[in-house]
Amino acid sequence: DATAGTSSDCQPCPCPGGSTCAVVPKTREVVCTNCPTGTTGKRCELCDDGFFGDPLGQNGPARACRVCKCSENIDPNAVGNCDRETGECLKCIHNTDGFFCDRCKEGFYGNATASNLSEKCKSCSCSPFGTVNRQTSCLQVTGKCQCLPHVTNRDCSACEPGFYNLQSGRGCERCNCNAIGSTN
């Protein structure tokens, strides 16, 4: 308050990097108005949208604001891609999931961090007849679905040799062919 007439009327802005500040009328709260690049908040203690960190070290050691790190599985045209403090990725794309969009989401398999889109996450597409409890999820990397007894293939879509009736939904049954009358 420059009109109070004391030597402490004007005080330096409590902002990093020599940022300017403003006093909000009524509440008299001081807000920094020109925080260093990538930072924001009353005291420049937060990261801007698209960045994460803890620039003033409010929760542990100070971490400068960095661009969201999401294994190239976010869209740069989206807003709110990661948590501004922890960096947790919030808008994973390409069927990925996880803190850094670094694994395939439920029901998909492959290499979430591959640079080639075709090697990224593919649908498990488990065969509903051959899969335990008709599950739609599979092993992250290999994509193996959990097959019923005597069912084979990655997606549990076929019976083992010598077995039949995948459609039963209970696994495949032994053919029980007579050894004498069969060709092999």
Binding site: V24, T27, V31, T37, V79
Partner: protein
């Protein structure tokens, strides 16, 4: 204690969101009075995406993805008041129907378009199908139309419907990239959009199919408003509001705030409401 609104001086202003605040810059005629730009509202903990203005009650409305919430405050000096806080994930575009006293918004994670009264009551889902990345949304209260854009990279589109959600149709789907910004000018009946993928500003009369390019080679538009002969869009690469003369198709000015960070939603705070009666009031 919450930071309060700095009352807006009389006249027409542009309101835009940047890094924890909503700024205003006065318009004199169509010129941007850069030296008079000032924060209307400090929201230091929020990431504000969409901004809309109600010329009747002189209120600014905004979406924020940090809470997430939809809030409003009087530009004549008032407290920010959240009006919608539940069942939101990534509220982005926001539009006010000043005649029907309703609010429309898009949510890019719930993939929805919703409507509510200006106080947040009577909330209803308008659309929850065929939406992937809905962002900009615009109301034309005089004709009762709603327009929105979806920047889905696989199939970007601009759509329209009546304001009650009936008569939904795709207006544009060819040769679009990332149509982030959309605006409707009631005087010229032109729907214009700015595309961060094709780097173009284009316009069309939505009832005819007379699409034309206004400007090419723009950088990264996020949000746009029309006012009279001009278009004003925020740009993520330039960290600026860019002024485009719609008739000549030329960039005529830019305003770059001192703080360098991305600019999001933009709205016009009119001195007076545009004339016109509501479609529903007439029928």
């Amino acid at each position: 204690p919450r930071p309060d609104v700095q009352p807006l001086p009389p006249g027409t202003h542009l309101l835009f969101a940047q890094s924890g605040k909503i700024e205003h810059v006065p318009l004199e005629g169509y010129d941007v009075k850069k030296d008079q730009a000032k924060a209307v509202l400090h929201l230091p903990e929020k990431v504000v995406i969409g901004v809309a203005y109600d010329c009747v009650e002189k209120m600014v409305y905004w979406t924020d993805i940090t809470t997430p919430a939809i809030s409003r405050a009087s530009v004549q000096g008032g407290e920010p008041t959240p009006i919608i806080t539940a069942d939101l994930e990534s509220p982005e575009g926001i539009a006010v129907d000043h005649l029907g006293r309703t609010l429309f918004w898009t949510d890019s994670m719930r993939d929805r378009i919703e409507v509510a009264s200006l106080d947040g009551t009577k909330r209803r889902v308008l659309f929850d199908t065929d939406l992937v990345n809905p962002r900009a949304i615009i109301a034309d209260p005089v004709h009762g139309y709603l327009y929105w854009a979806d920047w889905n990279r696989q199939a970007p589109k601009i759509e329209a419907s009546y304001m009650d959600g009936t008569n939904r149709k795709v207006l544009v789907k060819d040769d679009l990239g990332l149509p982030n910004a959309l605006t409707y000018d009631p005087q010229s009946s032109l729907l214009c959009w700015a595309d961060a993928g094709t780097h173009k500003v284009e316009c069309m009369n939505p009832t005819r199919s007379d699409r034309r390019t206004v400007l090419e080679g723009i950088q990264y538009p996020f949000s746009m408003v029309s006012f009279g002969k001009n278009l004003y869009y925020t740009d993520w690469k330039r960290d600026a509001v860019v002024v485009v003369d719609r008739a000549t198709g030329k960039e005529s000015d830019q305003f770059q705030p001192q703080k360098r960070s991305r600019l999001y939603g933009i709205a016009t705070a009119y001195a007076q409401c545009p004339t016109g009666r509501n479609y529903c009031a007439v029928n």
